[in-house]
């Protein structure tokens, strides 16, 4: 925003006073950001270096690490469970993103209208799961989806015998996807709501006067104007879905078999259950590369469909 004044030396007496003042301003600025910068160096940049080094070692965290070159990475390529968890994570992400995005769009459009008290009430209802502890959510859904729990009792009323949702290999992952979408919908809904409220009403009004129906107005005006928010939602959804952990930890522990074992859960198991810190570090970097590559691709593709007036 403001240009940083260059510190030119040598300077005449008046300039020296000016220089001293500048130095004091520099000092104040750095003093203000010092705790944050220290934190970033100590808890982010140093760990990144440690993590890169660790990914090339065999390390259990107790005995000293042994340098093993790229063995962790080549080992992962031959690790069936690595591929299983990667596939489960991709399936999970591909299930959650459309459910959440379409659902959030519907809810945002519904909550956008005129009567404000009702909208705040509804918005809060849809948003509540998002701020709720994942552990509480996991515990409740575990009870709801139990073999003779709430859900199967409701299905029983209409004569359907429900499966053992969380212990049936065919149903566990879809069940987790739906629960995750239900929990996460509040955040994208608020983003899209913000976008909807920022749209200039006069454009839609003009289209209305020209005789465009509500469906037409939505698809030709509202949706294109909402693409920046939709883009943000897709990017953040990908990043968070790909790192799903807590829900799996509480609800299924990766089971039955490895039907819901996802990438971060397997990474966690490697690091803190099997004591393979180097192997898990390599997994973390592969994840970083996947997320970085997909996000980069999304940024490149946005030119094709995101509309900035």
């Amino acid at each position: 925003m403001s240009v940083i004044e260059p510190d030119l030396a040598p300077a005449p007496p008046a300039g020296r006073a000016r220089r001293r003042r500048l130095r004091r301003a520099d000092l104040a600025g750095w003093a203000f950001i010092a705790p944050l910068i220290f934190g970033i160096l100590a808890f982010q940049l140093v760990p990144i270096v440690v993590s890169i080094v660790a990914s090339f070692t065999d390390w259990d965290g107790i005995t000293p690490p042994a340098f093993i070159g790229a063995d962790n990475y080549t080992g992962l390529a031959q690790d069936d469970l690595f591929w299983t968890t990667l596939r489960n994570t991709v399936l999970f992400t591909l299930g959650v993103i459309p459910l959440t995005t379409a659902g959030a769009l519907l809810l945002a459009v519904l909550c956008q209208g005129k009567s404000r008290v009702a909208n705040v009430v509804f918005r809060t209802a849809y948003f509540t799961p998002y701020v709720t502890s994942i552990v509480a959510i996991g515990l409740v859904w575990g009870k709801l989806l139990a073999p003779s729990g709430f859900f199967n009792s409701v299905l029983g009323v209409v004569g359907i015998e429900g499966p053992n949702w969380l212990t049936d290999a065919n149903w566990a992952l879809p069940a987790v996807i739906v629960i995750s979408a239900w929990q996460g919908i509040g955040y994208p809904m608020i983003i899209l709501l913000g976008g909807l409220q920022g749209i200039d009403g006069s454009i839609e009004e003009a289209a209305r006067i020209d005789g465009a129906g509500s469906g037409r107005r939505f698809f030709s005006i509202t949706l294109p104007l909402l693409t920046p928010q939709l883009f943000f939602v897709l990017v953040t959804q990908f990043i968070t879905s790909f790192q799903v952990f807590a829900l799996i930890f509480v609800l299924t522990s990766g089971g039955p078999g490895n039907a819901t074992n996802v990438y971060i859960y397997y990474l966690y198991q490697n690091a803190f259950t099997f004591g393979r810190l180097g192997y898990a570090s390599a997994m973390a970097w592969i994840l970083f590369i996947i997320i970085g590559a997909v996000t980069f691709l999304q940024l490149r593709l946005q030119k094709r469909w995101v509309f900035y007036n």
Binding site: S2, I4, E5, L22, A28, G29, F32, I33, P35, L36, I37, F38, G39, F43, Q44, L45, V46, P47, I48, S51, A54, G61, L110, C111, K114, V120, F122, T128, V131, T132, S133, I134, V135, A136, I137, W141, G149, F150, S153, I190, I191, G194, G195, G198, G201, E205, R208, I209, P228, F232, I239, V250, I264, A271, F272, L277, A280, A284, L287, I291
Partner: protein, 302 residues
């Protein structure tokens, strides 16, 4: 930046929409149709709200039932007898973890607000050499997935003897409030220059200008960052799972997730404990709702 509408703007839009709705061709048949549409929308919204709140309502209802009642009527929401003492029993079991979680959340909120607001002020309002470079560094670290950092952090904390202490649960969070710094920088940048200049003439130093003049002006942003931090800290599962070994130092989420069998042999007590976990977050969210929504909405528009 502000995509949320002021009440005036909303009212103006409502008026214009209403007058547009009274368009000639819809004058006779349009009004009832619009009313039916609105009624349908309300029904749809209500049904969606009910389905959204069913799991949490079930949790609340089960927390007030007897164990036998839950088994016999898994679909019923009204308890046969209201077992309020479930809450006393559940709280008795989770009290140490509740206190740990509350203490950590308080430290995190106060710490994050202090560090993020002073850094956000420097980035937003002060001119100093290296500022833009430092800000780029702060933003760049935001793209690194937390999981990449957690293993090396574990190794480092193990070396300095912090494993199984509370330090890993608040020091890194308090010292790296990247999102909060960004949000508060945005808020400080919108303030008028005259405020600072008047304070400077009055002879206040830079820190006093920040603390006494500028900080009170960004209360909504502080509230948003505070709520975010509270929710994150209160609900955190990964941190305590990895860094804490001793049972007495565990937080509420871990106590519920890992020791459910140990402390709660029954569903009703488990659901009461879950409700106790959820209520503080919902209460704080409701209080700060306006700012919280603004905070999220503006975060989507960087």
């Amino acid at each position: 930046m502000t995509h949320t509408m002021t009440p005036e703007a909303a009212a103006a839009q409502e008026r214009s929409a209403r007058s547009a709705g009274a368009h000639p061709q819809g004058a006779r048949s349009g009004r009832p149709l619009a009313l039916a549409g609105r009624g349908g929308k309300l029904i749809l919204m209500t049904m969606l709200a009910i389905s959204f709140l069913t799991p949490l309502t079930w949790m609340l209802s089960a927390s007030l039932k007897t164990e036998q009642d839950i088994a016999e009527n898994p679909m019923g929401f009204i308890p046969q007898t209201w077992e309020w003492q479930n809450y006393a029993a559940a709280f008795e079991s989770i009290r140490p973890f509740f206190i740990n979680s509350a203490m950590l959340a308080a430290i995190n909120v106060v710490g994050v607000l202090a560090i993020a607001s002073i850094a956000g002020y420097a980035f937003g309002r002060l001119t100093f050499r290296g500022r833009d470079l430092a800000f780029s560094l702060v933003l760049a670290t935001a793209i690194i997935p937390g999981i990449v950092l957690i293993i090396p952090q574990y190794i480092i904390f193990q070396q300095i003897g912090w494993v199984d202490t509370f330090f890993p649960l608040w020091v890194p969070r308090v010292l790296t409030p990247v999102f909060g710094t960004f949000l508060l920088r945005q808020a400080f940048m919108t303030l008028p220059k005259e405020l600072e200049e008047a304070a400077k003439l009055d002879g206040l130093n830079t820190f006093s200008i920040y603390a006494r003049i500028m900080l009170p002006q960004v209360k909504p942003a502080l509230a948003a960052v505070g709520v975010f931090t509270f929710v994150e800290s209160w609900n955190d599962l990964f941190g305590p799972l990895i860094f804490i070994n001793s049972t007495e130092r565990q937080t509420l989420p871990i106590a519920l997730a890992q020791f459910q069998g140990e402390f709660f042999s029954t569903t009703n007590l488990l659901m009461a404990a879950s409700t106790i976990t959820v209520v503080p977050v919902i209460v704080i969210y409701l209080i700060a709702q306006k700012y919280f929504v603004q905070g999220i909405a503006s975060s989507g528009l960087k």
